[in-house]
């Protein structure tokens, strides 16, 4: 009995520690106080400000949000395409070559962000590529693609090795076989690779910071960083964080429910 209680308490404590910061932000998004931690009574004013863009520097916050989403979507799409094709290529290599490619693919994933960021920065400078949108997207594609490769690979090994040949045998050109057979079969792996890339691009700070150049391009993370250095966080960030968290939570629940449903159907 006691043992059970301790086990349960441990889990709850762990969850509490994990979710306390989020909860803290969410609670304090419903008060007007400029300083985080001061409760000045319940209010939805910050939400109103956010949606009606009635706050100081709201234009830059909204454009940072827009940049973040745009970069994440484009980078995730490019990485998904590149990573899927690369996965097919690596999968069809034999023995030692395949091992080498897998190793090369996993190095960028364990490489610290700061090194990726600085080296990309130096590369862009060396190649005289003016930094801005394009370089940030290129940088994000660089660190997302290996994850797509990793999430597509297991689908490939589950696949019947004759499937691609079967498509060609029935008259499909290699491109048609890719589009009509390979992509639909790899779709679950591609979707999870896309999601992974999207979220990683969304919350990247270090690499973005080094590759965004000096034209004043801000994503949410760099905006918050500069904002915090200017003297305190803009209070409207609290409702924004809360909303982002809620949206992701809802998305996760939907994905999980759908997965559970399809699994039930299979059984």
């Amino acid at each position: 009995m006691m043992k059970k209680f301790i086990a349960k308490a441990y889990i709850w404590l762990l969850l509490a520690l994990l979710y306390a910061p989020l909860l803290f932000i969410a609670v304090f998004s419903f008060t007007e106080s400029r300083v985080l931690g001061n409760w000045t009574g319940f209010s939805v004013k910050l939400y109103q400000n956010l949606f009606l863009a009635k706050m100081q520097g709201s234009a830059t916050l909204l454009s940072a949000l827009e940049n973040t989403l745009l970069i994440a979507v484009i980078a995730a799409m490019l990485s998904t395409m590149l990573g899927t094709v690369a996965a097919i290529g690596i999968f069809n290599l034999k023995g030692r070559k395949r091992q080498t490619m897998n190793l090369l693919n996993s190095i960028p994933m364990v490489n610290p962000d700061i090194i990726t960021g600085v080296s990309l920065f130096l590369l862009f400078v060396f190649l005289h590529i003016s930094q801005g949108y394009v370089t940030v997207i290129l940088a994000h594609v660089t660190f997302c693609t290996p994850y797509v490769v990793l999430s597509v690979m297991p689908r490939l090994s589950q696949m019947n090795p004759n499937i691609y040949e079967a498509a060609m045998d029935l008259g499909a050109t290699p491109f048609q076989a890719l589009v009509k057979v390979m992509v639909p079969m790899l779709r679950p792996g591609m979707v999870s690779g896309f999601m992974l890339s999207f979220t990683m691009s969304l919350d990247d700070f270090v690499v973005t910071f080094f590759t965004r150049g000096t034209i004043g391009l801000d994503t949410l993370s760099t905006y918050i960083y500069t904002d915090a250095r200017k003297g305190g966080l803009t209070p409207e960030l609290r409702p924004l964080m809360t909303l982002i968290f809620l949206i992701i939570l809802i998305l996760l629940v939907i994905i999980n429910v759908r997965q559970a449903k399809t699994q039930k159907k299979k059984v």
């Binding site: 019947n160 499937i163 040949e165 079967a166 060609m168 045998d169 029935l170 008259g171 639909p184």
Partner: protein
């Protein structure tokens, strides 16, 4: 001049430095059911993949209707394949799987509907159009795979062990259905299998393959009744394979007895191999009509017949099939009809190796150094060494011999085993032994110095 739909000429294929096909020549008539038969790794699937276009040959040409298709990609060849593990598209239902090829050819929707329905009727799968392919049984999936290939009206249907994944009962049923389909459609079938019974049941022509080479081409009855070598005899059906001597035309000696036979032209006192099928050894109730005698050592009921092992009085073991039951220890008289004795040329009578003289009493061959009798041939000279089959000793451990190898195949010859050993340098050695070995056993190879004969000195 005959009209061949497929004409394969001098086809060779290597993977890396491993030759998997050597000089393959196959001609297939229109509407024929041809089976490529052989043990796993003999190259039969490689031939099929070369015809389908998934592999490119190193040498040789493949003619389809007289046109060279060697350079066409698979999607431009008017052939379709049924794969071993079906390879259906799991994201499509039965209808869309079958319609896949037609849709790519932009066939009008109305025609697609009609064709799919027709082919589903052919494979007895009506009313399955909407079903998910994952929800079908193995047999049903195979029917869909066959339908998906046939709906495109291929000139030749290639089948790669299509029934291997099915259970025995289902396999038998599908064999009959395939045979019926073939007769009904008149499409040429090229069928790959390792199952000799399946090959005998289905085919018009069987091509027996081993180690990348064609062993024999013929009708099922030809292959069964007149195997050209001990490999074919051993691979197809049960058989007694025995060493013998052709005394003169129509007279052969084996198991230390003389028999009349129907073969001629082997010369006199020529060493040969003899094949006698177990059902062709007749046990005679009337002992005066028997040619030789033996004692039953085992008798097993096999459903329709009993399978007996009989030790002849002269010390050979024969496998015999008979409809009557015998007790172990029974003494029986036996007779073999001349037509049922199949005499074959001996492919080899002794081992012959390339060797290099190391010093006055050592030779290097088979990837090792062997002691031999004193020789005055200059060290470094290339020679040929001969060793009799029964003069090679096999050791339990590879390092006990002068060279190492692995048991590759075993044929029982009535009173001894004839083994093929593959050395580490991929050379074949043939050994006669009384010891029991298993396939893939690792062995050391030892030869007594006096048994190595240096027969020929190559000057160059």
């Amino acid at each position: 001049m005959e009209n061949y739909i497929i004409d394969i000429q001098h086809l060779s294929k290597s993977f890396g430095d491993k030759k998997v096909l050597r000089d393959i020549n196959i001609k297939v008539r229109k509407g024929e059911f041809v089976t490529l038969l052989g043990p796993s790794g003999c190259g039969k699937t490689t031939i099929l993949r070369l015809i389908a276009g998934f592999l490119a040959p190193n040498e040789g040409t493949i003619l389809l209707d007289g046109k060279d298709i060697g350079n066409l990609p698979p999607y431009q060849r008017p052939l379709n394949t049924v794969f071993q593990r079906y390879a259906l598209f799991p994201h499509l239902d039965v209808y869309d799987n079958i319609a896949f090829g037609l849709k790519l050819k932009n066939v009008p929707q109305k025609d697609i509907d009609a064709k799919v329905r027709k082919v589903l009727r052919l494979v007895n799968m009506e009313d399955y159009e909407e079903r998910d392919v994952d929800s079908l049984s193995g047999g049903q999936q195979q029917r869909v795979a066959i339908a998906r290939a046939l709906v495109n009206k291929p000139k030749v249907l290639l089948l790669d062990e299509p029934l291997a994944a099915l259970d025995l009962k289902m396999r038998k049923d599908m064999q009959i259905e395939l045979k019926e389909m073939h007769e009904k459609l008149g499409i040429t079938f090229v069928y790959v299998t390792h199952d000799q019974e399946e090959a005998l049941t289905l085919s018009d022509t069987i091509v027996v393959l081993n180690e990348g080479k064609i062993q024999q081409v013929g009708t099922p009855t030809d292959i069964y009744n007149e195997p050209v070598n001990s490999f074919v005899a051993d691979f197809i059906g049960d058989s007694n394979i025995l060493d013998g001597t052709m005394l003169c035309d129509r007279k052969v000696k084996f198991i230390d007895e003389e028999f009349d036979c129907v073969d001629e032209g082997f010369g006199e006192n020529t060493p040969v191999e003899v094949v006698v099928r177990p059902e062709d050894v007749n046990i005679k109730k009337d002992k005066s009509k028997a040619q030789f005698f033996g004692t039953v050592t085992s008798c097993t009921f096999k459903g329709v017949y009993y399978q007996l092992f009989i030790n002849t009085d002269k010390g050979y073991e024969l496998m015999v099939q008979d409809y009557h039951k015998f007790e172990v220890g029974d003494r029986v008289g036996m007779q073999i009809t001349p037509e049922n004795i199949q005499v074959m040329h001996k492919e080899r009578t002794c081992n012959s190796f390339k060797a290099v003289v190391v010093d006055s009493n050592h030779l290097e061959m088979l990837g090792g150094v062997f002691e031999c009798c004193k020789t005055d041939i200059e060290p470094g000279t290339k020679v040929r060494a001969e060793v009799d089959f029964d003069k090679i000793d096999l050791m339990d451990h590879q390092d006990e011999g002068s060279a190492a190898g692995q048991v590759h195949s075993i044929i029982y010859k009535g009173n001894h085993y004839h083994l093929t050993i593959l050395t580490d340098k991929r050379k074949h050695i043939f050994v006669n032994t009384n010891d029991v070995w298993d396939k893939r056993d690792l062995v050391g190879i030892r030869i007594e110095p006096k048994d190595i004969k240096i027969v020929e000195v190559n000057e160059d």
